[in-house]
């Protein structure tokens, strides 16, 4: 792993209170100015990874392994350290902007309260920057927006406000947890373009979490595919989507409607996702996998390199010839 990475996770493992392991050995890195995708079904641990990066896991959770952000060991931070990182180092955009914005506080308040704290701005300077930010995320009439409340805006506009809030303290890394899932398709495209533009303009890194593989190809350079709290496959997004090297990635692609092919061509993945804490001893995908052998059920396979820039946690990956 390169030493210049902005964020790097080294065999990160998360156990929720009650001893339920939800993330196993997640190794991941994000370079400065890079947009990286995390893909997976619900329950795959992708949102919990995001929560772990901001210390927002339920109280009593245990995090082990390594997590380094901008040269700083995240797992060794105290409360004050986390307050410094949150918002100003790493910030987050949530899935549903309606739920993530406080319904009873004016947008101006929500946009400036952490700026005054992190950046030490005066009230008027913070408001001036808030206007700039709203302009940057293309919200018309910023002055009036500051006095408005979230319910006065559409879903897409609310998500733009949420992004402005996340960017307010000039973070280096933005975690976007399914930021377009709750939005109309036409609005989605606008948000994706916005994130891409912000990266170009400010050198922001983005960790983009989604279950929608189609969104990834347009936005991300590399993608990690999560299943049952493990990284199944990783590589450049284009190559990963065109020639998946893990049966799970292939299955995800097969379950996705695309092109002119009718509903008849959709292949649902047989079986159901693993319940956290009840993963089989071997590869968690083995019970649903067409290629599973006896070896797959003994121990979880380690991610192994394929070519120069890809990893797959599947022993049959090198010979795998699957068409998405």
């Amino acid at each position: 792993m390169s030493g210049s990475a902005l964020l790097s996770l080294d065999r990160l493992a998360v156990t929720l209170p009650g001893g339920v392991p939800v993330i196993h050995d997640a190794t991941l890195h994000v370079e400065p100015g890079e947009i990286v995708g995390i893909a997976g079904e619900s329950g795959s641990g992708k949102s919990l990874t995001a929560a772990a990066l901001l210390n927002l896991l339920p109280a009593g959770s245990r995090v082990t392994g390594g997590a380094t952000f901008a040269g700083e060991d995240l797992l060794g931070l105290d409360r004050a350290g986390w307050r410094r990182i949150r918002g100003a180092g790493i910030s987050m955009v949530f899935q549903d902007p309606t739920a993530a914005l406080h319904p009873m506080l004016p947008i101006g308040r929500q946009l400036t309260e952490h700026m005054r704290r992190h950046l030490g701005l005066s009230r008027s300077d913070a408001r001036a920057r808030a206007v700039e930010l709203l302009d940057q995320v293309r919200i018309p009439d910023p002055q009036r927006t500051l006095r408005s409340y979230p319910h006065q805006f559409s879903g897409g506009m609310r998500q733009r406000v949420a992004i402005a809030i996340a960017l307010a303290c000039r973070p280096k890394l933005l975690i976007a947890d399914e930021p377009t899932t709750a939005l109309d398709v036409t609005v989605q495209a606008g948000i994706l373009a916005l994130l891409s533009r912000l990266r170009d303009e400010t050198g922001l890194s983005v960790l983009f979490i989604t279950h929608d593989l189609g969104v990834l190809s347009a936005l991300t350079s590399r993608t990690y595919v999560f299943y049952a709290g493990r990284v199944m496959e990783t590589g450049p997004t284009g190559a990963l989507l065109s020639t998946p090297r893990h049966p799970y990635t292939a299955a995800l692609l097969g379950a996705r409607p695309h092109g002119a092919a009718g509903v008849g061509s959709l292949r649902p993945i047989p079986g159901s996702p693993v319940v956290p804490g009840q993963a089989p001893p071997g590869c968690p995908f083995a019970p649903r996998c067409d290629f599973a052998t006896a070896d797959c059920t003994s121990a979880p396979p380690e991610p192994a390199p394929i070519g120069t820039d890809r990893l797959s946690a599947c022993p049959v990956a090198p010979e795998l010839e699957v068409t998405p």
Binding site: H102, M104, L105, E113, P140, Y149, H151, Q152
Partner: protein, 359 residues
């Protein structure tokens, strides 16, 4: 640029215009509902008093007087009890429309005069109790929610359950035994010690009136008399409030916007004091209307035990004496207070939650 500003300037007054008529229409509707409600209260109370076995004459006249049919007949004629019930009712309603609440059979004074005397005494108990209960209930309920599942939360939960299951009359007797009999730090009851004369009446509340008249010793004495009954009434109300606030705050704590507030790097006190409290207050305000209702009914018992000459005692005596005009007067007053509190709750809603304000 100019196009957008003019558009914005053009839409704003247009969006604002219906707001005032909305409020007027809202208030008008509430007043109409209140009038209907008060009328319903007169009907139901009238019917109930007549359904209850017993007779005003038997309740109020002495044994000896009851043996003399002429006295009983005179009593009935004096209070109009010899007329058919519908005539009595119409007579009462007619007087009511002219602002006449009738005369109390118990005190022989106009019911309105009685109310003016007794209501301030009860308000002097109820208002501080309510304020204390709201402050303590919100703070403790919030603390329990934030420390969910930990020892302090368990203590609060058990404590509020105890408070809920403690009968107010029992609690009144216990605190009297403790603070009056054993410790001797509190007066036994009443509103003022005998060495003080009631202060000149302005508000009817002794503490306020004595302070207004500059009689500081009397004001302090009145405050000392307030402590125990206010304590009992607060305990009665605060237990319900704590449980409600706790569950309301727990729900808010699950919300994404609380996580988002933490994710922004805000310190815990800002997240709790601004984000959590603001959202949690809406359900708290709702239940405080109900809590005020239970507080008012609690005053009946508490006033009787503490010898507090307030509305609760007046209501109790009127009910046992089947004193119809007083019962009606108290019922109407209480109904009016309820609707007033509910109206206040609805208006506060709009003040706190902008989503309600506009719709």
């Amino acid at each position: 640029m100019t196009a957008t500003t003019t558009a914005a300037a053009g839409t704003r007054p247009a969006a604002r215009r219906p707001r005032v008529p909305n409020l007027v229409r809202f208030l008008g509707k509430r007043v109409a509902i209140t009038i209907g409600l008060l009328w319903g209260v007169t009907v139901v109370t009238f019917a109930l008093v007549h359904v209850v076995p017993g007779d005003a004459a038997t309740a109020n006249l002495s044994e000896q007087a009851l043996n003399d049919p002429a006295v009983v007949a005179a009593y009935r004629a004096k209070w109009g009890l010899d007329q058919p019930i519908w005539q009595q009712y119409l007579h009462y309603l007619g007087n009511l429309l002219h602002g006449d609440l009738g005369t109390s059979q118990q005190t022989g004074r106009p019911v309105l005069t009685d109310l003016v005397q007794y209501v301030p005494a009860t308000l002097e108990l109820a208002v501080p109790s309510m304020i204390l209960a709201l402050v303590v209930g919100t703070a403790v309920g919030m603390l329990a929610a934030v420390r969910h599942g930990r020892a302090s939360d368990q203590v609060v939960r058990v404590g509020s359950l105890l408070g809920l299951s403690t009968p107010p009359f029992w609690l009144s007797l216990v605190v009297l035994y403790l603070f009056f009999y054993l410790l001797g730090v509190s007066p036994s009851g009443g509103r003022l010690s005998p060495q003080f004369a009631p202060p000149p009446s302005v508000t009817g509340m002794y503490t306020v009136d004595a302070a207004l008249a500059g009689q500081w010793a009397a004001a302090w004495d009145a405050v000392q008399h307030l402590v125990l009954p206010v304590l009992v009434l607060t305990c009665l109300t605060v237990a319900t409030l704590i449980r409600f606030v706790r569950s309301a705050m727990l729900e808010v704590l699950q919300q994404d916007y609380i996580r988002a507030a933490y994710a922004k790097g805000l310190p815990t006190r800002t997240v709790l004091g601004r984000h959590l409290l603001r959202a949690g207050l809406v359900p708290v305000i709702t239940v405080s209307g109900l809590a005020f209702a239970s507080l008012l009914s609690g005053t009946v018992l508490v006033e009787n035990i503490f010898g507090w000459p307030g509305l609760g005692q007046y209501a109790f005596r009127s009910a046992t004496g089947l004193d119809l005009p007083s019962i009606l007067g108290v019922s109407l007053f209480v109904a009016l207070v309820y609707t007033g509190v509910n109206l206040l709750v609805d208006l506060l809603y709009g003040l706190i939650d902008p989503r309600i304000r506009l719709s």
